[in-house]
């Protein structure tokens, strides 16, 4: 008889991070050049400004199997495009609250402001976010909101 | 309790962040009881920051502080030296284990000349 391994494979969440080009992407670069590590399962998508992030991008990520989505932008008031992140802040506050209303764990979504000088903060934020999402486990809810036949 | 924990406890009890102090001395510059204080208001802040709590617990200044809060009012950094004094005093009162004054004792000693502030500060001073 074949022995079944009782040891479960450790869950590694898949994280998508949208970073604005001017602050947070540069902050991530600084984290890199300062060799401040964070888990490899965080993958960064560069956008010009956090306000470029359409809620559909966030939803798409979840639907495609991301376990957590984080948006990073310049600190409010420091936006390279003057006001972009103010819109991001409202959009995402409402979107995340709405997703939670639909039963999606709030901890899977996050907005953080990271400046180009905050490499250490970028790394700390990512470590913390990965820890939080790992504790939540796999995202099953947002891949499909419907009951499939036979379920 | 380790020394470190005791220091942290007292910092927590004071409710003020002593690291915000920029050592300007405005608190001591304003203190109306300065002469009566064996440890000066600014020293309370810096000594707590450095963890010298045994020296603080042994001082007389905690009984001489008027709790007038002028130092709190004037501090440019939002530090509250009087809150540190109170934290030390509270710790001493709690170590003694009893209240120095009870609510029942107040009415007989109140007359129209007694300032409200005195009652408040006495309560702060002598009670756990």
């Amino acid at each position: 008889m074949q022995e079944v391994s009782t040891e479960k494979k450790e869950f590694v969440p898949n994280i998508v991070a949208f970073c604005c080009n001017w602050c947070s992407y540069a902050g991530a670069d600084l984290a890199g050049s300062s060799r401040l590590s964070y888990p490899a399962n965080v993958k960064i998508i560069r956008v010009p400004c956090s306000c470029r992030v359409n809620p559909t991008f966030v939803l798409k990520a979840f639907q495609q199997g991301a376990d957590g989505v984080i948006l990073c932008g310049c600190h409010p008031g420091d936006c390279h495009y003057v006001t972009g992140n103010y819109y991001t802040r409202r959009r995402m506050a409402l979107l995340f609250s709405f997703l939670n209303y639909m039963g999606i764990e709030k901890e899977r979504t996050r907005v953080e402001w990271v400046s180009a000088a905050e490499g250490a903060r970028f790394s700390a934020v990512m470590n913390d976010f990965v820890k939080t999402v790992t504790a939540l486990g796999e995202n099953k809810r947002l891949t499909d909101l419907r009951v499939k036949e036979g379920e | 309790m380790t020394k470190q924990e005791r220091v942290e406890n007292m910092q927590r009890l004071s409710g003020t962040d002593v690291r915000k102090c920029m050592k300007c001395g405005k608190c001591s510059g304003r203190c109306p009881a300065f002469k009566e204080m064996d440890i000066k208001p600014h020293q309370f802040v810096s000594m707590l920051e450095r963890g010298k709590i045994d020296e603080l617990l042994a001082c007389d200044a905690i009984w001489n502080c008027l709790s007038c809060m002028a130092c709190v009012e004037r501090c440019p950094r939002g530090v509250a030296p009087a809150a540190v004094v109170e934290a030390v005093r509270d710790t001493v009162v709690r170590m003694q284990g009893k209240n120095g004054i009870t609510a029942e004792e107040i009415p007989p000693i109140v007359d129209e000349f007694i300032p409200q502030q005195l009652l408040v500060s006495a309560y702060r001073k002598y009670n756990k």
Binding site: P55, T56, L59, K60, Q63, Q64, P76, G77, T83, Y86, Y87, R89, R90, R91, M92, A93, L94, L95, F96, S97, F98, L99, N100, Y101, M102, G103, I104, E105, K106, T109, R110, V111, R141, L142, T143, D144, L145, R146, V147 | -
Partner: protein, 325 residues
Amino acid sequence: MKDVEMKMLERAKQLLESGEVARVIGWKKGEFFYDPTPASFETVDELKDFVYDWFCGANLSKYLIQMSKKEGKTAVFLKPCDTYSFNQLVKEHRIKRENVYVIAVECLAKLNIEAIKEKTDGIVKSVDVEDKDVKVVTTNGEYTLYKPEVVLSKCAVCNKTHQAKDEEIILHERPERDVNRFEEVEKLEAMTEDERFAFWKGQLSKCIRCNACRNVCPACSCVKCVFDNPHSGIAAKANDSEFEEQLFHVIRAFHVAGRCTDCGECSRVCPQHIPLHLLNRKFIKDIDGLYGEFQAGETDEGKTPLTSYTEGDIEPKDVFNGEAK
């Protein structure tokens, strides 16, 4: 209701006869007496089918997008709730205001035939309203129903007043009411995440993607819907198990956030009876709570909450159940 209808008909005739307007938008008789449908009347003759009764729940404002482009003025009968959608569309430059003549008409709630059918037996033959009593005659007998229980869900919590009018036809004063339209949203918010997810999964699983909600929604009036836009990255060629299909209602709710006037048409037309308005109303409640009260369509100018900001806006992480932590 009959007297209001008479006045409206009379006015419609006048307007068409005098040539002041080229057409009148109202309702005409449907297949059954309880399903009047929106219609455009261009001649006095056509007005013979004109109707305004307890079942005229449809919001006519969306039709004006096309109608206001036509030659000549268009007169339209708008209920209080419809005027908000109208204003919103004017604000978004979708309706040419100068080409429209708005006649604000009285509305004392509209009835929900589904609810009436549910509460009675037999085939419904006639419905009459007397104050709070709804008298229904069916093939099986006569029933007296309590009106608030058989009105459309949007009417149950309606407190709206006319926001746009060139003239009005109002015969009765509407009593002021103290209603909390967020009650159902609050109930959901009070549930656990698991319960909420179960609720919505149950509801949205019923969706057959018929697009009725999108087609009726005055805020969903795009020249081309984002779901049909090949460049948006969300359009799918076939409604299989793909992204669009799965998250349609989430995306739609976000798209109309800050623009939705809470007209309730989505829930009214949903053949699967999904309480879609509870999605939009969540956004409305959050916007009110986080950024100050805002009623889309109250005016026909100004920015929406999602196209404005303040420097001290709440951080997303501090929002819980639509409120600050």
